[in-house]
């Protein structure tokens, strides 16, 4: 099968419709969640109060759940289905199962969203016990998770069927990456699923009286860190296997890309304690062990950095630019499919470095739960990941709708990216500095006990409102672009840009596709990092906590 020809062949309508449904939910979420973010920065500026008695923490919960859990999950699953469809194909039966997954997730999302909007779940997206939301919130979340598993197993099945038909061949790189991401997702979300189904749902319904708070938090963060890698890996897929095609080059190294993904699978999960570094009840030695494992998960990102620069340089040099940085100037800066993800890559430099600081054991006290953390993940997920997703959407949406990314829309995309860069630079920088000065995250406007320190914080909160406003303009423009690409752009064939391997590239070692081995090591690492501390936590449990409804405004 010729790669380039396949890149230009549109999906059958039936398939495209499934993948597109996920994109609709993604962009509706962007608008709703983005509006909430705008309102938050307004409230925190101290110049604005919410109308109709709307609670700050209601919109904060909507923002976190809709953008952190819904937008990301829907985009990822839709994109990954498209990648699987393109590389290994989808059968009628698999597509139907895909639809079941979609509807289950959508019903769960709507359930959770309505519960939040009517003020029955002001618990933020981390829903820490013993704050008790209405059971419908937890049931909605459970449906989203189980729905996503159905997609994961469909993807596993797709590759299995392809492998049977292509004995002895290595799986297509992008399909391999999708499977890694879904394996990680299933293994990690088991933790939160256990917590929601066994702890939260019976407790919120009144079937059990109390909940073990520390166990629920530990299960949440067992899931919470791989969650951020679940967002990041699709961006890495684009960086490794799609961007090279867009800039007119080839894969840097098929095997190194696979190796990086395997390392991400191994080390993304046994690291949840680095979110719990300042918590009581967890032995600091075990915290430190997970800090060490956290540093290991940096390594595949170091590899990724090298491989991206190398792809740029090799491509440029093949085109004949021999000076030291000549290749850099000649990158396709005017092509939004490249430019948006590129800005995302740049944002990952401070984003990644900030992450290393956050995870550095006792040093975490410097930034824990300050707005520095919010600034950090607005660089990583809301810039690196999101701009790469936008970069994908610019070609994926027209490929699915049978339209073209015109010059004019491309230009709008470039403007969108610049708006985003400016807005986020202002907002995230202000958040980082305010955080280092001790300003807390997740708090409505407050003057606390007054004084100079608080005044300084409020100054930075004003800057965040300016940044937030610019970002919201960026969101409106992105929604406009999405609508254009979906309904109004001229008909045609937009390429699905998958990079090919160099003809004389080295063979990929077979061991990289030994799933039993890698899943086995993943589970062994998790068992090592969690068994003893988890037994400790359970053995030294205090009395459980009853549900607390009034602090979140429930009667």
């Amino acid at each position: 099968m010729d790669g380039t020809e396949n890149n230009l062949r549109l999906f059958p309508k039936k398939d495209a419709r499934l993948y597109m449904s996920f994109m609709y939910v993604t962009f509706v979420s962007l608008l709703v969640g983005g509006l909430m973010g705008l309102l938050q920065t307004f409230v925190r500026s101290g110049k604005f109060t919410l109308p109709f008695n709307i609670n700050y923490y209601t919109i904060l919960t909507v923002h976190g759940v809709i953008l952190g859990l819904v937008l990301t999950t829907f985009f990822i699953i839709g994109f990954q289905f498209a990648l699987m469809g393109k590389t290994v194909g989808i059968s009628d039966k698999q597509r139907n199962v895909g639809w079941i997954s979609f509807w289950m997730m959508l019903v769960g999302t709507v359930m959770a969203a309505v519960t939040i909007l009517v003020g029955q779940a002001n618990v933020l997206y981390t829903f820490y016990a013993p704050l008790a939301a209405h059971p419908a919130f937890y049931i909605g979340l459970a449906l989203v998770i189980v729905g996503s598993w159905i997609s994961a197993f469909t993807n596993f099945r797709q590759l299995y069927v392809w492998k049977k038909a292509h004995k002895g061949e290595k799986s297509p790189l992008l399909a391999f990456m999708v499977i890694i991401n879904m394996l990680m997702w299933v293994i990690a979300s088991l933790g939160v699923a256990v917590s929601v189904v066994i702890q939260f749902i019976p407790w919120s319904l009144g079937y059990t009286e109390t909940i073990n708070v520390l166990v629920s938090r530990t299960l949440f963060w067992y899931f919470g860190h791989p969650l951020v890698y679940f967002w990041l890996l699709p961006a890495y897929m684009a960086w490794y296997a799609i961007i090279p095609k867009i800039i007119g080059g080839k894969l840097f190294s098929d095997s190194l890309a696979r190796l990086a993904f395997i390392l991400l699978l191994l080390f993304s999960i046994p690291v949840g304690f680095h979110h719990q570094l300042t918590e009581p009840g967890i032995d600091p030695t075990w915290k430190f062990i997970q800090v060490v494992l956290t540093m290991m998960v940096v390594v595949p990102s170091l590899m990724t950095a090298f491989s991206i620069f190398a792809t740029f340089e090799i491509t440029g040099r093949k085109k004949g630019f021999s000076s030291l940085f000549g290749w850099f100037k000649k990158l396709p800066w005017g092509d939004v499919r490249f430019f948006a993800p590129f800005v995302g890559m740049v944002a990952f430099i401070p984003g990644g470095i900030g992450g290393i600081i956050n995870a550095s054991h006792q040093m975490n006290a410097l930034v824990h739960n300050t707005i520095w953390v919010t600034g950090h993940f607005h660089l990583t997920v809301a810039t690196t990941v999101l701009l790469t997703y936008f970069g994908i959407a610019y070609w994926l949406v027209p490929h699915l709708t049978g339209r073209r990314l015109t010059k004019q829309i491309n230009k709008l995309g470039i403007i969108q990216t610049i708006i985003w860069t400016v807005g986020m630079t202002i907002m995230s920088t202000a958040m980082h500095i305010q955080g280092l000065l001790g300003g807390p995250r997740r708090s409505a406007y407050s003057q606390y006990a007054g004084g100079e320190q608080v005044d300084t914080w409020i100054g930075y909160q004003l800057a965040q409102a300016v940044g937030g406003t610019i970002l919201f303009i960026g969101i409106l423009l992105m929604i406009y672009i999405f609508i254009k690409l979906t309904f109004f752009a001229p008909r045609g064939v937009e390429e699905f840009p998958i990079a090919a391997e160099d003809e004389d590239a080295q063979a990929t070692p077979k061991i990289l596709e030994n799933w039993y081995l890698w899943v086995g090591i993943t589970i062994a690492l998790i068992a090592f990092a969690y068994t003893i501390p988890m037994i400790d936590i359970i053995k030294h449990s205090p009395p459980g906590s009853v549900p607390f409804k009034w602090p979140i405004g429930r009667m």
Binding site: L214, F288, H540
Partner: protein, 166 residues
């Protein structure tokens, strides 16, 4: 699977940096004892007064030795209980001299809270059933806001106090 020689240098440099970071914080944590707050003691959150530190008369600031203080606090939505002053009014500000060593001990009666003396390294989670404890030297003069930095409900941002280092 081949690594370019520059990639080998780069990965060696990167991994060496990470190892140095770990050695620095590991040495500080295990030899100097500056682990993040990880107190292991549990308590019945429904009866915190049974614990000596949280009896009403033991709340707030106490000087235990020259330049050494302890501060006991009970957190609840949406208040820090630092005890009462001579006029039976609730204490909201803790005053200690520069350079003093202060041991903060805190627990929660209801939901999860945070306790951060903003601008210092005192930053801990406070959870029902657990006691959090952190000792810090107040190196710098100034007014430091105490904030609840873990969401605890709709009045979360109204939960605060102050430390004055003079």
């Amino acid at each position: 699977m081949h690594l370019h020689k520059y990639e080998k240098v780069w990965l060696t440099f990167g991994m060496a940096s990470l190892i140095i970071f770990l050695l620095v914080i590991g040495f500080a944590a295990f030899w100097k004892g500056t682990h993040p707050q990880s107190h292991l003691e549990t308590i019945d959150q429904n009866n915190v007064e049974a614990h000596d530190s949280f009896k009403p008369e033991n709340l707030g600031l106490t000087e235990v030795a020259d330049g050494k203080y302890k501060v006991n606090i009970v957190a609840s939505a949406f208040n820090y209980d630092f005890g009462v002053d001579k006029d039976e009014k609730p204490v909201k500000t803790i005053r200690v001299p520069q350079g003093s060593t202060v041991l903060f001990t805190i627990t929660s009666k209801d939901v999860v809270h945070g306790f951060q003396v903003a601008g210092t390294n005192v930053n801990m989670m406070v959870e029902p059933g657990h006691i959090s404890r952190y000792e810090a030297v107040m190196k710098n003069k100034g007014e430091f806001t105490i904030v609840c930095n873990e969401y605890c409900g709709i009045g979360h941002h109204q939960m605060f106090g102050k430390v004055e280092v003079y």
